[in-house]
Amino acid sequence: MRYSVVVLLTVSAGLVTSAAAEPVSFRKQVAQILLDNCLACHGPKKAEGGYRIDAYERLIKAGDSDEVAVTPSKLDASELFRRIVTEDESERMPLEGDPLPAEQIALIKQWIEEGAKFDGDDPKAALATIVPPPVHPSPPEVYANSLPITALTFSPDGSQLAVSGYHELTVWNPADGKLIKRVHNIGQRTHAITYSPDGKLLAVGGGTPGRLGETRIFNAENGELVRVLGSTSDVVLDVAFSPQGDRLAAGSADGVIRVFEVATGKPVQTITSHSDWVMAIAWSVDGARIASGSRDKTAKVFDSKTGELQVTFSGHGQPVKGVAFHPEGKEVFSAGTDKKVQRWKIEDGKKTADVGSFGEEVYKLTAGGGFLFTGSADKSARQYDRKSHKEVRKYEGHKDWVLSTAYHDGSKRLATGSFDGEVRVWNTEDGKIVVTLLAAPGLKLAAAEGS
């Protein structure tokens, strides 16, 4: 079941204009209002007055006051409605904030009058997971400031370089640094961009800090949105297709690794072993294992079929920001804030080697073509032989932290993205810069240097 951007637009239109003729949908219209205005105080983190709205089943019940929150078809027996319309500022929700806009109040009113029906599958499900994926706002035509380049990737044929932007991907020609196109309807920040092994799908992980995390899958050929996977409460920080391309794993700032079936979008595994942000994900070559790095200062390896934890590596003692498998599959590389890339055995979680030495923290690891690439806050990127982990080359010249790396084995090109918004494409055969660009349409490179 695929839905197109057009469908999404119609859905979203419903949010704004309440069509009195049609019944109000809880899932499509009411839930988002509650999420935006009430969740902060009436959710799992904070449940003021003993009342929570984070699932339908909860929101209709009374809080500590015993006043029933929502009584179907009875506005005057619905405390929720009374509290959003009352004149008494000490009682009106959102407390100490502006009242809800009249059209939103009208929607809630109509919904209750129509019986306060739940039109989702599971009344216990978190609201965040049942609301339709949002249509994201358009990016600025011209960037006033640059954004950190948190993700970039080459297209399978090496002719395009997709780079994280603000509510978009910017796609550049890696040969001459020209902007080819801009892909819209993407979350505020993008932390991962990756093509499926067959090159047909493009997965984009990201979201809005503190509010939303999601993975969007686009048709790589025509740019159509194929599917949105797993809404979460905070950004998705890494996504990776299994080598067979049948599954996709996403790690997010809610500490969860979710594995989806690519063909259907069905979640097949939910791994909650980490206690903090999951910042990096990698699949073993045979697809049997998933490695992850987390802000909880550990790297872990799981059985990809069962989600079972196989080993925890605590040797970094600091947030782990990058992981990659050794080509032989028995060892893992991980990197992080401890300024180290460490290699360790899956069998017992024991460290076998330090890879290189870094002056600053190291970000995501990129494995490609027998190499391992690192980007670091020491403003350099480095290339290692993945088997021997000997340093092949060091790429220097960025003026800021190198947050992201991408490699195209066919063209032997390395792309690096840095905090100041600059992207460089390097020829790995001679270490020379092919092109330097500022991935912020409309913003001048010189302007960025000045700030």
Partner: protein
């Protein structure tokens, strides 16, 4: 603010120092409803602060403060009710006493209130030019203002929710990274500033564990939003630095209800000479929220009479203003009580201002007991009591004070106090060392060594700890950090522990100060001496201190004086001590006189006595100053200070409050009763019962108040009553909290029980001397509470004795019955076995003789051996059944039961009361009852 266990992680170090760090909350929001209406009346003139205004950028504002001057020098803040008019709204606008620039040019603000008028000239410039938000003085100040970087929130060492700020923005470099760059810059959104997580979280637009901390109308909101939209700029290196802040009005303002509010104005002066209003960005706290609160906008609101220090903080700058609140008290009239010396003059001045009346002088009996306990730690004897009470001389109190100060117990008792401060324990300075150190301290006090010399001897000490005991100072302060913290707390009254890891969150001490102080002490070296338990203290000629955060090498630094460029090259400590003991040192004399005051009056003028800080002002600054000045002028003569205080009427005031001072707890209108200290209490019990405690390893006659160290003798009673272990220099280690253990000790604890039952105790001695009941009761009262019993008490006691008459006979009778009963039980247990054994034996006797044999065997115990002989002769074997045989025949359970019963039977007769027991029991009761009175337990 969320306060979870994690916020206490770094607590261990800080807890001892100042639990306050985290309990002091940012200033509160006040509603106008709490305010009394301003009674404007007829001011003689009004004064507007500042007198002229220069606004050089679009962001600048200016808070005005309007003061009404009334007849008799009375002042009132009229800011709330004054009318403000701008002469040109195109140049400047004013709302709620806050001036905002509109366009370049000059204008005037006309202020009218109470029929008076004043004008303030305003010069506005730079309105066309951008005025970017300063990262440090805008952004970080705003985060501090909202409390984001407080110790309980993101300022905790581990941060909160993955977001960590430096405590009160002491580390701008770290905060820059965290705010702009950490986690891919997710907190700030330069493309859509209002959508930044940094704003959405405290606005609660996104779930925030800390709750609602920011409103979009707060000045902080605009600052943060604008800073982000300007691209999160950092301050250029050449940007002017803040050099000081000034708070208006200055300290000393007195407000009389209904006038009870004061708007503050806070200005910051920068290194380029510019001045900016930061009233909205400064953080306010009141040292005594029962007296006054402060709103986030700097409006001080008095709640009750008294004084408060309003502490104003802006980045690392801290200033405080003292404001006094008074009100009319119905029925109050100052009685002009006589004064004995300057102590009374200062105390009474404060009492008169706040409308309290001092209590009457205490009775001679109270004075005697109080002064003995305070000066020499023990109770006066019966003889001393009688002598003093019968003395008719007018100067007998003054003479007693002098006598006590010359007693050997004086120095021993005050050595106990200094032992606490200097941490005298055998664990820390060795078994031999502790005695030597104690003797040195005791001697210094006995010889009344001037305090400056005493301090110098400790602080500049070197050599063997055995031959030069004060060198132990550097043994208990075993490393540089300990030295800094000990010296600052003991001699400067400042708790510096917080500043080890970060700028002190509430005081002016910075991390640089801490390590600057350290540079005086880091060259002190310690090595083992040749003798066992000996340490050798010496000073090396090199070694520098590095500030761990900045990596900077620190110059020795002195409070208020700053960096020392050329410290004494041989021993930097000399430079420190020279500064410390200079007559004009503002800390040194004050902390010691305050400590003495607190020992004598139960509460420091600054309380806690060793916690001097802006946010903890003295309750009577003039008194503290006068005492310190006197102390310095008298060449640091501690006895002189003690004598002066003891001779004051303030010290000699009754503990009983009057109707006009019941509410006072801190201005010394009446004496503050307090539980005797652990050592005083133990000595007092020993003295009342005349049964001294013996401490193993210490000479006989050693009193608890004369113990050199708490770890020489483990004494449960002392521990229960709060004897400190001397692990810290903090006066707070000596606990005066009451606990259940104390109650149990007095109810029926072993110490008191044994002394009451002791054959040689006071009342038994008196009984042996054939004293009358009345005499004994009188003596017990004189010994315990240093006065004769009242007629009522005597009567009640005598009645109690009478009521016990015949009690012992009754008890003995009961006892006999009990013995008989137990005897029967013994029989009942052993009889079946006995019968069986006997029957078996008799069975061997020929039938005709059996009855005779039985009679013979059952012969009474005393004649048994003869019977046995007879039986052996007659039958060739003994027939008597012995106890052993019976016991052997019993099963284990019965055996046990029998043993227990026999034991009881053997013990019971010992409980028999000898003749005269009635009276003894009654006197035990009476003595117990006296020891359980508040009058005995409390210093009063």
């Amino acid at each position: 603010m969320q306060r979870t266990a994690t916020s206490l992680i770094h607590g261990m170090a800080c807890m001892a120092a100042g639990a306050l760090c985290w309990t002091m909350l940012a200033s509160v929001a006040l509603s106008q409803d709490d305010l009394e209406a301003v009674e404007v009346g007829t001011p003689e003139r009004i004064e507007v602060y500042p007198a002229e205004i220069k606004l050089t950028g679009p962001r600048q504002r200016m808070q005005l403060v309007v003061t009404g001057h009334y007849a008799g020098g009375i002042l009132q803040d009229l800011t709330r009710v004054a009318e403000f008019v701008s002469s040109d709204e195109a140049i400047v606008k004013i709302t709620a006493a806050r001036v905002a620039p509109q366009g370049d040019g000059a204008a005037e603000i006309v202020v009218r209130v109470g029929g008076q008028e004043a004008k303030v000239a305003v010069a506005v410039s730079g309105q066309g030019q951008p005025e970017p938000v300063s990262f440090e003085y805008g952004t970080l100040a705003a985060l501090s203002k909202q409390g984001c970087n407080a110790g309980a929130c993101h300022g905790s060492p581990s941060g909160k929710g993955g977001f960590r700020l430096s405590l009160r923005a002491f580390d701008p470099t770290l905060d820059r990274l965290t705010l702009i760059r950490e986690d891919f810059g997710r907190r700030t959104n330069p493309l859509d500033p209002a959508a930044s997580l940094l704003l959405l979280k405290p606005l609660m637009k996104v779930p925030h564990g800390g709750g609602l901390k920011l409103h979009s109308t707060d000045p902080s909101y605009a600052i943060l939003r604008d800073w982000i939209s300007e691209g999160c700029r950092l301050d250029p290196p050449e940007a002017p630095r803040c050099v000081s802040i000034q708070v208006y009005p200055p300290s000393g303002r007195v407000l009389k209800r209904p006038a009870h509010t004061q708007q503050l104005s806070v200005l910051a002066t920068f290194s380029d000479g510019s001045v900016r209003d930061i009233t909205q960005l400064a953080v306010y706290t009141s040292s005594d929220t029962e007296v006054a609160d402060v709103s986030v906008d700097g409006l001080v609101v008095g709640q009750d009479r008294g004084e408060t220090a309003v502490v104003v903080r802006y980045m690392e700058f801290i200033e405080s203003v003292f404001i006094t609140f008074v009100r009319d008290i119905e029925g109050f009239a100052w009685t002009n009580p006589a004064t004995n010396n300057y102590v009374d003059e200062h105390v009474y001045a404060k009492l008169q201002q706040l409308k309290y009346l001092p209590s009457e002088l205490c009775s001679d009996e109270e004075f005697l007991r109080r002064t003995y306990l305070d000066v020499i730690g023990i109770l006066p004897t019966v003889e001393e009591t009688s002598r003093f009470l019968t003395d008719q001389a007018a100067d007998k109190r003054a003479r007693l004070i002098n006598e006590l100060l010359d007693r050997p117990e004086y120095s021993k008792f005050w050595a106990l106090k200094w032992g606490d401060i200097l941490r005298l324990t055998s664990g820390q300075v060795g078994g031999d060392g502790v005695h030597k150190y104690y003797r040195w301290v005791e001697r210094a006090i006995r010889e009344n060594m001037p305090y400056d010399q005493f301090s110098r001897k400790l602080l500049a000490s070197a050599g063997s700890t055995l031959t030069n005991p004060p060198a132990n100072f550097y043994r208990t302060a075993g490393d540089t950090n300990d030295c800094v913290e000990t010296v600052s707390q003991v001699f400067l009254g400042a708790r510096l522990q917080c500043a080890k890891c970060h700028n002190h969150p509430f005081e002016r001490w910075t991390q640089d100060n801490y390590y600057g102080m350290a540079a005086f002490f880091n060259r002190v070296q310690r090595k083992n001496g040749r003798r066992p338990g000996e340490k050798f203290i010496f000073v090396s000629r090199s070694g520098e201190v590095t500030q761990p955060r900045t990596g900077k090498q620190m110059k020795p630094w002195l409070p208020l004086a700053g960096d020392v460029d050329q410290p004494n090259p041989d021993d930097r400590r000399q430079t420190f001590v020279d500064w410390l003991t200079k007559a004009d040192n503002p800390f040194f004399a004050k902390i010691e006189v305050n400590r003495i005051w607190s020992h004598l009056l139960g509460r420091g003028i600054v309380e806690p006595a060793d916690d001097f800080r802006e946010s903890n002002p003295p309750s009577n600054a003039a008194l503290l100053d006068a005492l310190a000045l006197d102390f310095v002028e008298q060449k640091y003569d501690r006895k002189h200070v003690i004598r002066t205080i003891l001779n004051s009427r303030t010290y000699q005031a009754s503990f009983k409050p009057n109707a006009m001072n019941e509410e006072d707890t801190k201005y010394f209108s009446h004496y503050q009763p307090r539980l005797l200290s652990a050592e005083q209490l133990l000595d007092a019990i020993c003295q009342v019962t005349d049964r001294p405690e013996s401490f193993s390893g210490l000479p006989a006659g050693t009193r608890a108040t004369h113990l050199p160290a708490p770890d020489l003798v483990k004494h449960d009673f002392l521990k229960i009553f709060g004897q400190p272990e001397r692990q810290t220099v903090c006066a707070c280690e000596r606990s005066s909290e009451s606990n259940l253990g104390m109650a149990i000790q007095f109810f029926n604890g072993p110490l008191i029980y044994n002394k009451l039952r002791d054959e040689g105790n006071r009342f038994r001695q008196l009984m042996k001397l054939e004293k009358t009941d009345s005499d004994i009761i009188k003596m017990l009262h004189l010994a315990a509470v240093n006065r004769e019993p009242t007629a009522k008490e005597l009567e009640a006691s005598l009645q109690h004795i009478a009521s016990k008459d015949g009690e012992s006979a009754k008890k003995n009778k009961e006892l006999e019955a009990k013995i008989a009963e137990v005897g029967k039980q013994v029989q009942a247990v052993r009889d079946p076995a006995f019968q069986k054994l006997l029957d078996a034996k008799l069975a061997t006797v020929p039938e005709p003789l059996r009855a005779d044999a039985k009679t013979a065997v059952l012969t009474a115990e005393g004649k048994r051996s003869e019977v046995q002989k007879y039986l052996v002769a007659k039958f060739g074997k003994g027939l008597v059944v012995s106890d052993e045989e019976v016991v052997k025949a019993l099963d284990d359970a019965t055996k046990k039961k029998l043993e227990a019963l026999k034991k009881e039977l053997a013990e019971l007769p010992k409980q028999k009361l000898p003749p005269g027991s009635d009276r003894i029991m009654a006197l035990e009761d009476i003595c117990w009852a006296i020891l359980n009175t508040n009058e005995f337990l409390f210093q009063h």
